[in-house]
């Protein structure tokens, strides 16, 4: 796979925080419309990997590529404008805005071709930001009843769904999901899985960090295992889980 055909790629990405090294020469390439999973023990550096890709953290060395261009030094905001969107391990929404307004703020950016200008924002009425997608999404996510309550009062499951809705409404090219299933009930998880399959698969590349591995089985076409900042396995779901290195370092199993 050359870096031309990869949508998103990182090369030799390294980041240290004192003694811990959550990214130690990581090479990874994500193809267009690929749905990939990343698993790994706690503290392996999965979230750090997302932070490096989205620009919340600057790598000590190595590069990040997107659509063939080097984006290592771009600000987080610029990367989002290019079409990289993420969700956070701790669901991150605007607690002080109501649910639709959260979605409107996310959608408005898309409406303005990714670069909302101050003047435009000032002159646009918030209720004027609407579209079928917004209605459909609020409906489909089951937000109809809570549409006008403050997001801070939502349950964790609803917050995650809201954050996801805010990410996919902008139709990003790459969607990075940090443990989207954590703390959710089976039903909520299957709702999210359905939504990802119906709405996003085939339209964007998706990268999912998850500890609930079995849920990834039907969802991903590729799975990688990250341990101590290094990719120890990469392949299909089966391959990754059965690879000796992964079993050794992730499951602490030694093949006899």
């Amino acid at each position: 796979m050359s870096s031309e055909e990869a949508l998103l790629g990182v090369e030799n990405l390294t980041k240290r925080f004192g003694a811990v090294c959550p990214a130690n020469g990581v090479n990874y390439k994500l193809r267009e419309n690929q749905v990939a999973g990343i698993i790994g023990p706690n503290g392996a550096g999965k979230t750090t990997f997302f932070n490096l890709v989205t620009g919340l953290c600057i790598p000590d060395s190595g590069n990040v590529f997107f659509q063939g261009g080097d984006i290592t030094r771009l600000s987080p905001q610029k990367r989002v404008q290019l079409g990289i969107r993420r969700t956070f391990q701790l669901a991150s929404v605007f607690d002080n805005l109501c649910v639709v307004d959260n979605i409107r703020v996310a959608y408005y950016q898309k409406q303005r071709a990714g670069r909302p200008s101050l003047g435009g924002m000032f002159l646009t009425e918030l209720v004027g930001v609407h579209s079928e997608t917004i209605d459909e999404l609020t409906e489909g996510m089951g937000f109809a009843n809570v549409a006008h309550t403050e997001a801070g009062g939502l349950s964790l499951g609803n917050k995650r769904k809201l954050e996801l809705a805010m990410a996919i409404i902008a139709e990003p090219k790459v969607l990075l999901l940090d443990e989207p299933f954590a703390g959710l009930s089976e039903m909520e998880i299957s709702q999210i899985v359905e939504m990802l399959k119906n709405r996003c698969a085939g339209k964007m590349s998706i990268l999912i960090i998850e500890h609930k591995i079995t849920w990834l089985k039907d969802l991903v076409d590729r799975l990688s295992v990250l341990v101590n900042g290094e990719l120890v396995a990469d392949g299909t779901y089966q391959e990754a889980l059965e690879s000796p290195q992964a079993r050794k370092s992730y499951w602490k199993l030694i093949e006899e």
Binding site: V80, Q81, R85, R86, N96, L118, F122, T124, L126, V127
Partner: protein, 324 residues
């Protein structure tokens, strides 16, 4: 009920009440309170909408006052032009200061503003004494002679002007609340990183808000300058920094009516206290502590439901409100 009345009915109500107060209460009090309300609205916007706490608001007020004062004392005789100069100086100043201080996170921002206030006071009192006359201040009431519309040497006319400007500022705040920009401001307060990761220029959002708010503070300062006909560094003393904070929190920060209510209550209390008590710091200090034991929304938390149900009674139709 016609649409415009539904939309702007509250403004008629509120400012109509202010107009009536003018008939019932002494003019100096009402003028003072209306100008102070403009100042409070600006601060309340910053703290309630952006989550920016500034301890240096007197600086922005005084910059406007001095802009107007110096113009009227040394250059022109038209107070309207003076007002304009004050606001423009306020805009330029806050553009500059905003670009430096807004890079700071919350605590640093508040404290840096406090330092700015200390330095500003010193500048106007000592360093620029040749321009500002130091503690003596600049006096120019008699010079404000060319007044095309309202003669602003008369308090009654200052009241009319101040009220009109207060309405405009209030409308601006109300408008911002309904715009995407207003939502972005709230979003900055709630979760700035997230907004950045939605592709917004959060610095720009904050910068514009900072300039809008502090230009409004400068406008209030300019109005004071015209009303009193003189300016002195006393308006910039650090002890005065909490005034506007108390007023805003008293009425409820980030609410629309709160600043008006807070400003009137505060000025009323200050007038009462300063005539009866020698050391008003003690009083204000205790007030601040008591208010802070409550929460950010002040007394409007329990006034709002009353207002709302009253309004629904009048408009006879349940209003679907967007949560602020």
């Amino acid at each position: 009920m016609p649409r415009w009345l539904k939309r702007y009915g509250d403004i008629l109500l509120v400012f109509g009440a202010v107009g009536l107060l003018r008939l019932a209460l002494p003019v100096p009090f009402v003028i003072h309170a209306v100008i102070f309300a403009i100042y409070t609205m600006a601060f309340s916007f910053l703290i309630g909408r952006l989550g920016l706490v500034s301890f240096g608001q007197p600086v922005y007020l005084s910059i406007g006052a001095y802009g107007t004062g110096i113009y009227l004392a040394r250059f022109g005789t038209n107070p309207y032009a003076g007002l304009f100069v004050g606001v423009v100086v306020g805009i330029l100043f806050s553009l500059l200061i905003g670009s430096l201080l807004l890079r700071l996170t919350g605590d640093y921002f508040a404290l840096a503003n406090l330092a700015l206030c200390a330095v500003g006071f010193f500048f106007f009192q000592k360093a620029l004494v040749s321009v500002t006359n130091g503690d003596t201040g600049l006096w120019y009431l008699a010079r404000m002679s060319s007044t095309p519309i309202l003669n602003l040497r008369q308090p009654n006319n200052v009241f009319v002007l101040a009220l009109i400007l207060a309405v405009l500022v209030w409308l601006l705040m109300k408008y911002i609340d309904s715009s995407v920009y207003g939502a972005a401001c709230l979003a900055v307060k709630g979760n700035e990183t997230k907004l950045q990761l939605l592709g917004y220029d959060t610095f720009g959002v904050k910068w514009l808000a900072f300039v809008l708010a502090n230009a409004t503070a400068a406008l209030a300062g300019a109005l004071y300058a015209i009303y009193f006909g003189f300016v002195s560094p006393a308006s910039m003393e650090l002890v005065r920094a909490p005034e506007v904070i108390v007023a805003a929190l008293l009425g409820g920060a980030g609410t629309l009516y709160g600043p008006l209510l807070g400003a009137f209550l505060y000025i009323a209390m200050q007038d009462l206290v300063s005539t009866h008590v020698l050391y008003w710091e003690l009083f204000v200090g205790i007030m601040v502590v008591l208010i802070m034991m409550g929460d950010e929304k002040g007394i409007t938390t329990w006034l709002k439901p009353i207002f709302r149900s009253g309004w629904q009674l009048v408009s006879r139709r349940p209003k679907i409100t967007r949560t602020p």
